[in-house]
């Protein structure tokens, strides 16, 4: 740990994920774009019941530069429905689920609200983690301090292009879990798993004791099992959001995630 840095305090999300990981369970974190449909909050509940270990909730942004066509479409749909960050948090505060909620958004949403106000509004809504996808390690200090104070874990990302020494610094600052980017490029489904996903998991496991979850380009139970052989868990986004865009209801969404849950549990009996 860096001299003078605040000792990392494992927040609610990290404790939860560590304890499940240490219990031998592979972590499954589905992603849904808030506000993409009127019933999105039911989807969140259903995912929790369907075997998720945490749920990543996207707060839509007008210029989602790291997202591919599926999540772009969901974001646009959410914005056209008039979705605002305040509404998203207000709906999340009504959800009573036994897994941590982690929001994902772009930094302008956080910056515009103000670091302290945004961090506190997350905590008040019962959100225990935040992924600010375009906030680099170099720019993250002020936000991380406010998030720490509010008890919100800031999850940082490591990419295939990140050198090892930099990856170590990112892991040191990440809370909750560390998000390993499975492949270079935008979010979206891929027919085959990138070799970089498994490599990323292996590399992060060698660097950090934080739960290591891999996302971006993980579209199916088969791919989840393949990555989870080396990681603590997986994030599944576009594959789920596409089903929701195509009209799947909350139960169908939960069944899709439940299917991945079952395959993970079968492959890794703990």
């Amino acid at each position: 740990m860096t001299v003078g840095a605040r000792a990392p305090v494992a927040g609610q999300m990290e404790k939860h994920l560590r304890s499940r990981r240490d219990g031998g369970r592979k972590l499954l974190i589905p992603y849904v774009t808030a506000g993409m449909r009127g019933d999105w909050i039911h989807v969140v509940r259903a995912l929790a019941d369907g075997g998720a270990d945490a749920i990543e909730v996207g707060i839509p942004f007008s210029d989602p530069m790291i997202d591919g066509p599926t999540i772009q479409a969901a974001s646009l749909q959410a914005l056209r429905r008039g979705t605002t960050p305040t509404q998203v948090l207000s709906e999340l505060s009504t959800v009573d689920v036994d897994v941590p909620l982690c929001v994902m958004s772009y930094y302008n949403i956080v910056f515009r609200a103000g670091h302290r106000r945004f961090a506190r509004s997350l905590a008040q809504a019962g959100v225990s983690g935040a992924i600010v996808v375009d906030l680099s390690l170099e720019e993250a200090r002020d936000w991380c301090a406010e998030a720490d104070d509010a008890g919100v874990a800031t999850v940082l990302l490591v990419a295939p292009s990140t050198p090892d020494d930099r990856a170590a610094r990112i892991c040191e600052r990440s809370r909750g879990f560390v998000y390993g980017v499975g492949r270079m490029g935008v979010t979206g489904e891929r027919a085959t798993l990138a070799g970089s996903a498994v490599e990323m998991a292996r590399r992060l496991r060698g660097i950090t004791d934080l739960p290591v979850c891999i996302g971006i380009g993980i579209s199916s139970a088969e791919q989840a099992v393949e990555v989870a052989a080396e990681s603590d868990g997986v994030v599944v986004g576009s594959a789920l959001v596409r089903r929701l865009l195509e009209g799947a209801d909350a139960e169908e969404a939960a069944r899709f995630i439940g299917g991945i849950r079952d395959r993970l549990d079968a492959a890794f009996p703990g």
Binding site: N108, R112, D134
Partner: protein
């Protein structure tokens, strides 16, 4: 005047509180690599020699400064134009892309991606790619491919692939998003040849340095013509590269620096600080931070943000940012054509529109104004005809 203005940004790529590097981690190593590569190249005399030679023998530099006798007489001021419209490909954009293409080659990257609004930067990038034998993909909003279809064809003739962008507002800001998405996926062998003083550090710095030639030439030329510096330096601002390059040549003089935005895309005029496309700057956005769509007759100024260094120059009071309306711009376009025989691009016609409006008001009679004519208007003729009818 502060010596630190328009020098290098700080270690985090900030100009005052603006700039920085707000990109996904996948791109951070590329930004750091580019920063190091540029620092190395920019301190290497052989890089400058090669760049200067290409700009001179291929690009047509130095461009002249033209005194507008008839228009000056009409306005009661002394108006000089820095003629970037005479650069090869018809705009100042070439200065930047030749530098970035040489830099990319030095970094071992053989593929260029670019965003374009009016098409000028896309044409310039396609030109540099053809010149150096590189692959080129240009992202252009679908709205812009329609209103600038000849430029699309020009890029294709130059061997570039133009990919129409159908997301968001389908204009320049969405083209930037799409170019960034391409860069994330292909970063190992691709250089993102950004077209203005925007994006994550080190781009605003690199592009300003590559455009500095405009201001430095103009300063020498003005001294030859006037025996002194002009009182006013005026340039149009979308992202703000021609303005940044021009201002860099005059920031340490007594001249008033004026950037002119499109009234429908005035990030300084109507925006507030925010973060998009990797930078902190003034942006047109709503109260929760969703970026708004700019709207102007000039595709090149249809951008809801402004380069971070301009935000800094405005904040410290060294430059001022004004606006021109579409109607004023069309008048200015016609006025320059009729009095001087020059068709300006719609973008610098904004700068001219402000000068025409303010001559004898904000600009005292008899004052001397240097205006950067950043591009030629041939690309806009069909659109102007439709608008004037």
């Amino acid at each position: 005047m502060s010596a630190s203005l328009m020098g290098p940004p700080d270690a985090e790529g900030r100009f005052g509180e603006f700039g920085g590097r707000f990109v996904p981690e996948s791109l951070m190593p590329a930004c750091l690599e580019l920063e190091a590569a540029f620092a190395e190249a920019w301190s290497d005399p052989s890089f400058h020699e090669e760049l200067d030679a290409v700009l001179r023998h291929y690009g047509g530099r130095p461009t002249p400064v033209t005194e507008c006798r008839r228009l000056s007489e009409r306005l009661g001021i002394r108006l000089l134009l820095k003629r970037e419209d005479l650069t090869h490909t018809g705009s100042h954009k070439l200065n930047n892309v030749i530098g970035q293409a040489l830099l990319a080659r030095r970094m071992g990257k053989a593929r260029l991606v670019a965003e374009t609004g009016a098409g000028q930067h896309g044409v310039a990038t396609a030109t540099a790619a053809a010149l150096f034998g590189m692959q080129c993909v240009v992202y252009m909003g679908e709205v812009d491919t329609a209103r600038q279809e000849l430029n699309v064809f020009r890029m294709e003739l130059l061997g570039a692939e133009v990919r129409p962008v159908k997301s968001g507002s389908r204009t320049l800001k969405d083209a930037v998003n799409e170019a960034l998405r391409d860069w994330v996926a292909e970063v190992a062998h691709t250089h993102y040849c950004i077209g203005s003083v925007m994006g994550p550090h080190p781009y605003p710095y690199i592009v300003r340095e590559l455009q500095r030639v405009v201001g430095e030439e103009a300063r020498r030329q003005c001294r030859d013509i006037l025996g002194s510096d002009p009182q006013w330096i005026v340039a149009c601002v979308g992202g703000g590269s021609n303005a940044a390059g021009t201002f860099a040549g005059f920031v340490d003089t007594e001249a008033v620096l004026v950037g002119v935005e499109a009234a429908g895309g005035a990030a300084m005029g109507h925006g507030v600080p925010g973060v998009v496309h990797g930078m902190k700057s003034y942006l047109m956005q709503d109260e929760v931070g969703q970026i708004e769509e700019a709207e102007s007759i000039s595709a090149g100024l249809d951008y809801p943000g402004i380069g971070p260094e301009h935000a800094h120059l405005a904040t410290v009071g060294r430059a001022r940012y004004e606006q021109a309306t579409d109607a004023e711009v069309l008048e200015a376009f016609r006025a320059l054509a009729e009095t001087e025989g020059i068709l300006p691009a719609l973008e610098p016609a904004h700068a001219l529109a402000w000068v025409i409006r303010e001559a004898g008001r904000a600009i005292p009679e008899g004052d001397c104004v240097l205006l950067t004519l950043s591009g030629r208007g041939d690309k806009d003729v069909a659109q102007v005809r439709d608008l004037m009818r």
